[in-house]
Symmetry: C2
Subunit: 453 residues, 2 copies
């Protein structure tokens, strides 16, 4: 089966709405029109697929539940009050304003109808496709304990980050008002569950907030009252990284005062603390960075899934028996030729998005498609001010050099010129002054209601 999207079909008159009521959907099915490529999700994978399709003679419809693309690698900086949401998010419409073959739909996909070749939206409407790219990302995985999410929020979205930011800032405010050190303690204890890149970054950033920045602003609490604990179930931090870097990361965190426990799985998460084996960690601030799972929309694809709910795709990233449906990024489970799976990283999603777009544009038939190959250029994680670890090809490094490299790469990748300048300025500012600039507790949920008199 082939999808020749460089073909010369054309449409007359104004482009019709992408939305069809079910009735009109059935009627219009047979009329002559441009092929439609629907992309679900405007994360790294979806965004780069859409960009790579800019010259395709097709109608591209990019669906996302939000109106912005999120630069997720810096989300922990919003959670720890160093950046504002605007700094790491860019309106999708703005990114694509000059790509005339693309339309943006803000909405929630409820179901994928593989046989009917359409996507059902939560508002009852339907969007038809000829080819579909599923780049829906992932959610937190509480391994069957979804009630833990209430006490230990995870970090995937801007609302997640704002919730964590508020929780941390409110805890400091509460601790400041407490009369005795015993009352204060739980508010100044922080437990981060999960020692992957997000967990390491969060633990480091919290250590910086409490130990440096907050020291100046409060009268009754002092940096040495704070205690940050990082729990990892595996024998070392950053399990996907070279061992040497795991060790470097651990040492840098401990230098900053973080207490690191490896080989220690959380057994129970409650409002007041975490139980791990026979140890109880009392804390009012618990952050979940321990696992990802596929979004529930993937279940409607009726394709094989791994234990984390990701779709097991073929070498060309398609779903079995559906050469027109591609799954990429965190939503896909791709086995490496030598064993193991591709990691859930932005570069993987980006390369997959570009690969899929090339396959669609060239119209390569399924059986002739070359298998997707990930070009691994390296990986990095930041820990704090002038502290990071990085692997570039076979080079491994830690400390200030890794941190400079990390900063450079992340700013360079931030989409949109304004964000780059603004983030650069904020970092420079906070480097020079030790100040965090986005320390507002805005809290919709806590906002004062209109008073009744």
């Amino acid at each position: 089966m082939s999808y020749q999207y460089t073909a010369e079909q054309s449409i007359s008159g104004e482009v019709s709405s992408v939305y069809h009521s079910l009735a009109s959907h059935r009627k219009k099915k047979s009329t002559n029109r441009l092929p439609v490529i629907v992309i679900i999700g405007a994360g790294f994978g979806g965004l780069h697929a859409a960009r790579e399709l800019r010259k395709a003679n097709a109608r591209i419809i990019l669906i996302d539940r939000n109106n912005y693309h999120l630069f997720q690698p810096l989300l922990y900086q919003v959670a720890t009050a160093a950046l504002s949401p605007d700094d790491i998010a860019e309106p999708i419409r703005k990114i694509f304003k000059d790509q005339s073959n693309l339309e943006v739909v803000m909405g929630n996909v409820e179901q994928i109808d593989c046989d009917g070749r359409c996507v059902q939206m939560a508002d009852g409407n339907t969007i038809e496709y000829d080819a579909l790219i599923v780049a829906a990302g992932s959610r937190h995985h509480y391994f069957g304990n979804s009630e833990w999410s209430r006490h230990a929020p995870g970090l995937k979205t801007i609302p997640d980050a704002l919730k964590i930011r508020e929780k941390i800032l409110r805890s400091l405010e509460k601790a400041e008002l407490m009369e005795s050190p015993e009352q204060r303690k739980p508010y100044l204890n922080f437990v981060v569950i999960g020692g992957g890149p997000t967990g390491v970054e969060m633990a480091g950033a919290i250590a910086e907030i409490t130990r440096r920045t907050m020291a100046q602003d409060f009268r009754h609490i002092h940096p040495e009252h704070a205690q940050i604990t990082l729990l990892e179930g595996m024998p070392r931090l950053l399990p996907g990284y070279p061992e040497e870097l795991s060790e470097k990361a651990r040492r840098q965190l401990e230098d900053m005062g973080v207490i690191v426990h490896t080989d220690l799985l959380a057994d129970k998460v409650e409002a007041h603390g975490v139980q791990a084996k026979d140890r109880w960690f009392p804390a009012r601030n618990i952050i979940w960075a321990a696992g990802n799972k596929g979004r529930s929309i993937l279940q409607t694809l009726d394709a094989p899934m791994d234990s984390s709910g990701r779709i097991e795709v073929g070498p060309d990233l398609t779903v079995p028996d559906h050469p027109e449906i591609f799954v990429i990024g965190d939503a896909a489970c791709v086995h490496k030729p030598g064993g193991g799976e591709l990691p859930a990283l932005a570069p993987v999603a980006i390369q997959q998005g570009r690969y899929v777009a090339r396959m669609l544009r060239s119209g390569t038939p399924t059986e002739q498609r070359p298998a997707f190959e990930y070009k691994d250029r390296g990986m990095m994680a930041t820990i704090g001010r002038a502290r990071a670890v990085a692997r570039v090809g076979r080079w491994k490094m830690g400390g200030a050099i890794a941190w400079l490299l990390w900063s450079f790469v992340h700013v360079a990748f931030l989409i949109g010129f304004r964000n780059r300048v603004s983030v650069m300025l904020k970092w420079l500012w906070s480097y020079l002054t030790f100040q965090r600039s986005a320390r507002l507790i805005v809290g919709r949920n806590f906002a004062p209601k209109e008073e009744s008199r």
Copy 2:
């Protein structure tokens, strides 16, 4: 009665917590300690009172429900996606980090106990005072129709602004997906109720969003589909300004395509539109900018109030029979010697805050205090890009000069160096590119919930 706060009382050991359980509150009452000045509210009035007291030999406790000071004159720019919340808000603790006689308490005041000379907090704790400055600000006044607030949100707080921003951006997203122009129309109709400075600024800013910025990003909706209506119950816009400026403001708004109705009071506000006399204005976006009232906390002062629920204070801004309780800013109703009342403007609150602080520092007895006098340096309102009106002393001006003056004054007054630079850059950027930088729909209320599988 006199409050000599330059006295030489001293305390020994560490400063105790400002919070007292009721029991300890009664016990500690008689011990030797520094006089305590409590300030409720860190708006313009409270902030400037606190600063002016930096050399007072007293313990100053500044209470606010938020952890930030809000630069309210620019709040409409957050509501219209030109600025982010961080740009116009500054953590209170950061502002006062070097003022050692001041402590910040983040919390809600539930009641003022004038006889017991203490403030009851919502969390059950109590804060004692020797002198009290009430700078609690105001809320929207729906004139007995509080159910309108659901359809026509007002603009006082950052959550208010984010709610309005989301409503506007979501409307455009919805309109883009509608199949017919009739379905689209209500989503592209905007009604602003109230033609004071906030209403004029909102109407102008919405005109700019819809007519310029949004024109580039959407495929199916066009700027000419949008309709912005401004309703004012009085015979002219900006009723507190010179008539000449009202006329100038109206002409500038109409140039931008805003439909202005004066002498037209809203009789009914519903989800789908506004009824005013015999006219029905269908609209999905309704914004309330029509009136202010005092916060309910003021009722616990048991002092005379005007029809808007503000406290009628004496010439020295105190409450009758309580020379130790001052009310300033939007919470106070001050009659001018020549008739009329002082307007609810930032400069009034600032001057009042400084006056009260001076009275407290010098310890002037009530009967010898000079009456508060407002030095009126002028007023201004902005309308759009290079459009504004201003009065400076007796000079009146409109257009680009007024706008430059407005920009200069507002940036100069923004507290905190970082904010100033960041706001300046954003303005320059949006002036050059016609882009609004903060167009994110973040919506806590609409945030996707953790999926259950």
